[in-house]
C-alpha cells in the first residue's frame, strides 16, 4: 500500500552501560494524509522514541520512515515537532519565536511582508495575537504551548508531531487547548501524530489510537479506529455509548498491560503480600508501581 507516511518496520536498540537495550521492535504503521493519530502506552515504552525517529532526530537501527515517497534521514521543518516542554527560546518574544521558524522555512518563497503576515496569522490561529511582544517567561504554560503549536503550524509541515503537548497543563487549560486544536484541525486538516497519556484526549481528537505494548522491545499492541463524526463536542459525546465504548477499550488495554507488567514481580513478592495488613498492601503496591516504572525505563 502506498500511504502518505509509512513507518516501515522500525526497530531501535540503544547501547547502554549494561549492554544493548532494544527499545522498539518492529513498529509498523501507515498514516493517511490528514489523519489524526494518537500514540498511547505506559510510561517508558518508547512513544517518544517513535516520534523522534519520525522527526529524524533519532535513526532507527532497522527499518525506516518514508514520507511522501521520500526516506526520512534527518530532521526538517516538514515534520514540525511540538515538544512537551514548549521549548520556546526564552530570549525571544512570542512573535520572534514564530518568526524565526517562518524566516527559516520561507526565506526564499515569501517576501518580508508576507512572512510578517504569516507569523501574525498563525499566532491569531492559536489566539495569541494579543501577546506578541511578551517573552515566554511572562506568559502562562497554556499560552507557551499555544505559541509552540503556532510555531509548528507556521512551518506548514507535512506531519505535525506532538509529544504530550498538553501533559504539563492543568485540566481546565488542557480542555481549552484540545478544543482549540480541534478547531485548527477542522480548518487545516493537518496530518498529526500525538503522544498522550490522557484517554479522553485520545478518543476525542483521534481518527485512530495506536496502543503500544510495554517495553523493552515495545511494539504496536492494538489499533483502535474511532468512528465518531467530526466535529466532535465533548459534552454531547459524554453521553454517547460509542464514545464510552472506545474509552473503555483503551482503558482496558492499558489496564491489562499494567497487569502483565506487575505479574512477574508479584510472584517473587507473594510471600510479602500474604503477610498483608492493609497499609502493608498499599505500600507494596507503590513499590511495584515504582518498579514498573524502573523496569520500563530500562533501569532493570
Amino acid at each position: 500500500m502506498n500511504s502518505y507516511l509509512d513507518i516501515d518496520h522500525i526497530s531501535i536498540t540503544f547501547p547502554t552501560d549494561s549492554g544493548p537495550l532494544n527499545v522498539l521492535n518492529n513498529v509498523d504503521l501507515n498514516v493517511a494524509k490528514g489523519e489524526f493519530i494518537s500514540l498511547i502506552g505506559h510510561s517508558g515504552c518508547g512513544k517518544s522514541t517513535v516520534l523522534n525517529i519520525v522527526a529524524g532526530l533519532l535513526n532507527a537501527t532497522e527499518g525506516g520512515v518514508v514520507l511522501e515517497e521520500k526516506e526520512v534521514t534527518e530532521p526538517g521543518p516538514d515534520r514540525a515537532v511540538v515538544f512537551q516542554h514548549h521549548s520556546l527560546l526564552p530570549w525571544l518574544s512570542v512573535y520572534d519565536n514564530v518568526r524565526l521558524a517562518v524566516d527559516q522555512v520561507f526565506k526564499r518563497t515569501k517576501s518580508k511582508k508576507e512572512r510578517h503576515e504569516w507569523t501574525l496569522h498563525n499566532l491569531d490561529l492559536v489566539h495569541m495575537g494579543h501577546a506578541l511582544d511578551r517573552k515566554p517567561d511572562e506568559i502562562s504554560g497554556g499560552m507557551k504551548q499555544r505559541v509552540g503549536i503556532a510555531r509548528a503550524l507556521a512551518m506548514e509541515p507535512k506531519v505535525m508531531l506532538m509529544d504530550e503537548p498538553f501533559g504539563a497543563l492543568d485540566s481546565l487549560t488542557r480542555t481549552h487547548m484540545q478544543d482549540s486544536l480541534m478547531e485548527i484541525q477542522a480548518e487545516l486538516n493537518n496530518t498529526v501524530i500525538m503522544i498522550t497519556h490522557d484517554v479522553d484526549e485520545a478518543v476525542l481528537l483521534s481518527d485512530r489510537i495506536i496502543m503500544m505494548t510495554n517495553g523493552p522491545s515495545a511494539t504496536i499492541g492494538e489499533i483502535l479506529n474511532i468512528d465518531l463524526p467530526k466535529p466532535r463536542n465533548r459534552l454531547e459525546l459524554a453521553e454517547d455509548p460509542a464514545y464510552n465504548h472506545y474509552r473503555a477499550e483503551v482503558v482496558k488495554f492499558l489496564h491489562e498491560r499494567h497487569q502483565t507488567l506487575t505479574k512477574d514481580e508479584s510472584s517473587e513478592k507473594s510471600s510479602v503480600v500474604s503477610l498483608s495488613s492493609k497499609s502493608r498492601q498499599a505500600d507494596d503496591e507503590n513499590q511495584k508501581k515504582s518498579e514498573v516504572v524502573k523496569k520500563a525505563s530500562g533501569e532493570y
Binding site: A55, G56, L57, E74, P75, G76, P77, R79, A80, V81, F83, H85, S87, L89, P90, W91, L92, L100, A101, Q104, V105, K135, D137, M155
Partner: protein
C-alpha cells in the same frame, strides 16, 4: 509624593503643599521608606565605623621597624598628600611644556634648522610617575590583558563547547595550564617579549606588554572553562528545535547557543577580570613594571616613616578598583542578559 497611597491622597487633596508634606511625614509610608533607607545605608555604614574603630585600635598596638602601623587617620593624610604630589607634578609638567613652547617659537624666529625644531617639539616631560599615574597604568594594562584573553577565550570556548571531540582533546591542556601562578609565567614572558618584540620605535613599552601578556595568560582559563560549560549545556530541546528548523551553524550559534551561554560566559568574564587584577599587581611588583604593584614595592624599598601608610593607601585603592571593575561587569551583564529575573550578584 508618588508614594502616598490612594486613601491619603484623596483626604489630603485640598491641603496646602506644606501641610501635605507634614502629613506624609507622619504617615506609614514615610516610616517604611525611612526603615528601608536605614537598612540600605545605615547598616553598612555602621559596619564600616566598627571596622575603622577596630583598625585604629589594632594599628596602635603593632610597632614595626618603620614605626607604628598606620591607622585610618594617617592613611587618610597620606592619601591627601599623594594627591597633592600628583597635582604639583602636573603643574611642573605644564610649566615644562610652556617653556618648551617658547623655545620652539624662539628657534623658529632664529631660523634654526627644521630638524632641531622637531627635536625640541618632541621632547617629553620625564617627571616621576605619581600614584594617580600608576593607577591608570595598571588599569590600562589589566584592561588590555583582559580584552585579549576574552577575545581568545570566548570563541575558543564556543568551538570547544560545540564539539565533544575537540573538548576531549583540549580539556587536559586546560586543566594543566589553569593552576599555573602568574609568577611562574613572568620570567618566560619577559624573555620572550624581549626576544620577539624588537622595534626601534615601540608602540607599547616592553614592560607594559610583559604585564599585559601575563594577565592574559591567567585570565584565559575562567572564561574559557565557563564558556565551554555554558555552550555544551544548552538545553537539548532547544538544540532539537534548531535541528528541526535546519538552522545553519551561524544562525544556530547566534540565535540559540550564545544567548543560552551568556550567563555562564559572564560568570567566567567576571572571574577572569578579578583574577587578572590580582595577577597584575603581583606581576608589577615582581617585574618592576610600572603600575600600582611597582608603587607598593618602591615604597617598601624606600622605607620612610610614611611608607606603610602609603602602601596602605595603595592596598585600599587596589581593593576599591577591583570592586569597581566587578560592578562594571555586572552592569554590562544586566544590560546584555535576557533573563531579567535572574538574581545577579
Amino acid at each position: 509624593m508618588a508614594l502616598i497611597s490612594a486613601e491619603t491622597a484623596t483626604s489630603t487633596f485640598n491641603m496646602p503643599r506644606f501641610e501635605r508634606f507634614l502629613s506624609y511625614m507622619a504617615s506609614d509610608e514615610w516610616n517604611k521608606a525611612v526603615t528601608k533607607a536605614a537598612r540600605a545605608i545605615m547598616i553598612p555604614l555602621a559596619a564600616l565605623l566598627v571596622f575603622l574603630m577596630l583598625w585604629s585600635i589594632g594599628a596602635k598596638s603593632i610597632v614595626t621597624s618603620l614605626g607604628v602601623f598606620p591607622g585610618p587617620s594617617t592613611v587618610w593624610e597620606q592619601s591627601l598628600s599623594l594627591y597633592d604630589e600628583h597635582q604639583s607634578e602636573r603643574i611642573k609638567a605644564a610649566a615644562f611644556y610652556e617653556r618648551m613652547g617658547k623655545r620652539v617659537d624662539k628657534a623658529i624666529a632664529d631660523g634654526k634648522p627644521q630638524k632641531k625644531i622637531e627635536k625640541l617639539r618632541n621632547r617629553k616631560y620625564t617627571g616621576k610617575e605619581t600614584f594617580i599615574d600608576q593607577i591608570f597604568t595598571s588599569l590600562k594594562t589589566v584592561l588590555v590583558g583582559f580584552l585579549f584573553a576574552s577575545l581568545i577565550a570566548i570563541p575558543a570556548g564556543i568551538i570547544c563547547g560545540m564539539s565533544a571531540i575537540l573538548y576531549t582533546a583540549v580539556n587536559p591542556l586546560i586543566q594543566l595550564f589553569k593552576p599555573i601562578s602568574p609568577l611562574a609565567w613572568l620570567p618566560l614572558v619577559t624573555m620572550v617579549v624581549s626576544a620577539v618584540y624588537v622595534t626601534s620605535d615601540p608602540m607599547f613599552p616592553k614592560a607594559f606588554l610583559t604585564s599585559a601578556i601575563t594577565v592574559t595568560l591567567c585570565c584565559l582559563w575562567p572564561t574559557l572553562i565557563n564558556t565551554i560549560v555554558g555552550v555544551s549545556g544548552v538545553d537539548k530541546d532547544l538544540i532539537n528545535v534548531s535541528r528541526v528548523l535546519r538552522l545553519n551553524a551561524f544562525t544556530k550559534t547566534v540565535k540559540i547557543i550564545l544567548p543560552s551561554a551568556i550567563p555562564l560566559i559572564f560568570t567566567g568574564l567576571r572571574l577572569s577580570l578579578s583574577t587578572g587584577w590580582m595577577v597584575l599587581i603581583a606581576a608589577e611588583m615582581l617585574a618592576q613594571n610600572p603600575g600600582l604593584g611597582k608603587f607598593v614595592w618602591d615604597e617598601f624599598q624606600n622605607g620612610s616613616s610614611n611608607s606603610l601608610a602609603r602602601i596602605m593607601v595603595a592596598v585600599l585603592v587596589i581593593g576599591f578598583i577591583g570592586f569597581l571593575l566587578d560592578r562594571i561587569m555586572l552592569l554590562i551583564q544586566r544590560k546584555v542578559s535576557w533573563d531579567k529575573n535572574a538574581v545577579l550578584r
